[in-house]
């Protein structure tokens, strides 16, 4: 037992008196059981939203980008806001699976699978926006460095937009293989239990014939560690490069050297908020309360407080520097008195309220450990982080260098429809995932049972009464 020692002061990560087999049973229950009515209701709503979004995408492509509320000054607004919002949400998954693995944080094991799924599904949504915004998505392959009929006119490797292409596709594909490699032993577990022949075939195919030899596990752990080491700088690079889409331009308000760290912190902030939103519901629906506990919620809230704090400091320094320059133009950037009192004042104050004010409630331990309060705060942060990107883009562009060109951005129903559609698509994927995939990395959770399971901790502390 001594090798499984963990300080008694640490709260258990798995509650209840569970054997290895009990963990198996808890994880396969949503997969082997039937979906309830709530699942079908949620799925139908998501599907309708998705179809509506598809219709709006079809409308955009058949009529042109003029179907959106863009104009001569504001050449990108909702689409790029949504792109950055979705990419940012994806960051929590990689942070949990990669960075927390390097830091040997055991609590990540209950949430890494779903957070990575969220990452992959969110990056799908993000990738849609630049492709639609091309107007002629069938020419999308022009972003690839391939020999072509234009006399080998190559892509421009000096452009942050092309860096984005490389960063996002590397990020998506590496996250996908990281996720899948971790899934193999869990798919194998479902395969070996399945009684229905079709189900057995499907999971046999998905598990790639995983057998669990000692050598396989040795390689598996090495691969996980190296992938975590590669994914850690990768996740930081992705939002850094996204921020360079703005920071390398010459617009005041965008041309800012603090953008990379500030965007990365904001991405993790919004990503953890989305994980809270999703898991707050999922732990109840799939009866996984013993695995995703109050402690997990609190730990995630602490990450939200740290990254939210970084974001708040970044806002403050942007605001101060804009004022300190004394340049009248800076008075119209997204963090300025001009923005707070101008026509987009409502968007400015929404950002301050949802992103800075409301998350401060998490300083109170009782709120930090409350499921419902965490859930509500996470929704607020999701809204706040959307406004952050909208403010940076729309407010800055609405007041350019030439006052006679000042204009506003008004979204059309198509702008809104595509955004709603991506939310629908995201939830369609997530709801299907929750019914067919092992939503907790059960093989990994089994390794921490003896050190962090409630029952084993009690046995070790000599407290047998329960």
């Amino acid at each position: 037992m001594s090798s499984h020692y963990e300080a008694p002061i640490r709260e258990p990560l798995v509650l209840g008196e569970k054997s290895y087999h009990d963990i198996t049973m808890d994880i396969v229950k949503p997969i082997e059981g039937k979906a309830n009515k709530n699942w079908y209701v949620a799925f139908t709503i998501a599907l309708v939203a998705f179809l509506w979004g598809l219709g709006c995408i079809a409308y955009t492509i058949s009529t042109g980008i003029g179907a959106w509320g863009l104009n001569k000054n504001i050449g990108w607004a909702w689409d790029i806001t949504n792109f950055v919002w979705w990419v940012g949400i994806g960051h929590a998954g990689t942070l949990i699976s990669a960075v927390l693995l390097l830091f040997r944080q055991k609590w990540r094991m209950a949430i890494n699978r779903s957070a990575e799924a969220m990452t992959i599904f969110a990056v799908f949504q993000a990738g849609l926006f630049p492709i639609i915004h091309m107007g002629r998505p069938w020419n999308g392959y022009w972003v690839l460095p391939i020999p072509n009929q234009f006399g080998s006119l190559w892509v421009n490797f000096n452009s942050p937009l092309l860096w984005d292409v490389f960063a996002i596709s590397t990020y998506l594909s590496v996250s996908l293989v990281f996720w899948w490699t971790g899934l193999l032993p869990d798919f194998a577990m479902i395969r070996d239990r399945a009684v229905k022949p079709f189900q057995k075939k499907i999971y046999a195919l998905l598990s790639f014939g995983w057998s669990g030899r000692a050598k396989d596990w040795q390689r598996f752990e090495e691969v996980s560690l190296v992938l975590a080491g590669l994914a850690t700088p990768l996740v930081l690079s992705v939002h850094t490069i996204v921020s360079m889409d703005f920071a390398t331009s010459i617009n005041p308000g965008w041309h800012s050297t603090i953008f990379p760290p500030y965007f990365v912190a904001g991405a993790i902030f919004s990503g953890f908020a989305m994980v809270q939103t999703l898991l707050g519901v999922m732990r109840k629906v799939t009866n996984l309360e013993n695995y995703i506990t109050r402690l997990h919620i609190e730990y995630m809230n602490i990450v939200i407080m740290v990254t939210g704090g970084i974001v708040a400091v970044a806002y403050a320094s942007e605001f101060f520097i804009a004022w300190y320059t004394g340049s009248p133009y800076e008075n119209y950037t997204y963090m300025s008195i001009g923005a707070a009192t101008g026509p987009y004042g409502w968007a400015f104050w929404s950002l301050i309220l949802f992103n800075i004010a409301i998350p401060q409630l998490l300083w109170i331990k009782k709120f930090r450990r409350s499921f419902i309060v965490s859930f509500l705060i996470s929704i607020a942060i999701n809204i706040g982080m959307w406004f952050e990107r909208f403010d940076i883009i729309a407010i800055v562009l609405s007041k350019g260098h030439l006052p006679s060109t000042w204009t506003r951005f008004e979204p059309t129903f198509v702008d809104v429809g595509i955004f709603v559609g991506t939310i629908g698509f995201f939830f369609v994927l997530f709801l299907l995932y929750a019914r067919t995939f092992p939503v907790i990395a059960q093989a990994e959770v089994k390794t921490i049972m003896k050190s962090s399971g409630e029952h084993y901790k009690q046995l070790r502390d000599g407290k047998n009464e329960h």
Binding site: S152, S173, G209, S211, G212, W217, F220, L234, T447
Partner: protein, 175 residues
């Protein structure tokens, strides 16, 4: 033929398995394979498995990715079709290099990650439609299985294993 005969000893706890492996190793018997539902730490060392070299592979693959990125940016931006973009120097790869750092980084990671995972899948024989080879379906749930080849010492082995708290001991003819 007795050469294809193996003994399967099944355990329901990782610590018991580790003790059993020590006992069997201590009696100088060869353990052919151990199947476990999750990674048991220290098992590979106990079995005498050599350290995996996948991390070294990943490093070399990363170097390939970095070299490829350097070659690609130089060929496309400097040699084949140099263009004046924002006044950036287009006659020298080295002077234009800062703008290529993101591409060099991303391709290093891309090559290292994907080629390492493909190597892992090939070495551990994992791919779609591959048949699983764990002898007992419970080994992905909560059973730990040790496979020992029998060389006319069936009784001796069975007696030894029965002292190791195995939940099941089976003698199997392997095909």
């Amino acid at each position: 033929m007795s050469t294809n005969k193996v003994i399967h000893a099944l355990y329901n706890d990782d610590d018991v398995l580790m003790d059993a492996v020590k006992t069997v190793k201590g009696a100088n018997h060869h353990i052919e394979e151990v199947f476990t539902p999750f990674p048991v730490h220290g098992l590979d060392k106990l079995l005498g498995l050599p350290q995996t070299r996948l991390a070294i592979c990943a490093f070399l693959y990363g170097l390939c990715g970095l070299s490829f990125a350097i070659w690609m940016t130089n060929y496309m931006m400097i040699e084949n079709w140099p263009q004046d973009i924002g006044g950036k120097p287009n006659f020298s790869w080295w002077l234009n290099m800062p703008a290529f750092v993101p591409i060099m980084f991303e391709l290093t990671v891309f090559f290292a990650a994907h080629l390492m995972v493909i190597t892992f899948y090939m070495r551990s024989r994992l791919w779609p439609f591959k048949e699983a080879e764990n002898p007992d379906p419970r080994t992905t749930d909560d059973i730990f299985l040790m496979e020992i080849p029998v060389h006319d010492n069936e009784e001796e082995l069975t007696a030894l294993l029965s002292t190791t708290n195995a939940v099941e001991i089976k003698v199997i003819e392997k095909h």
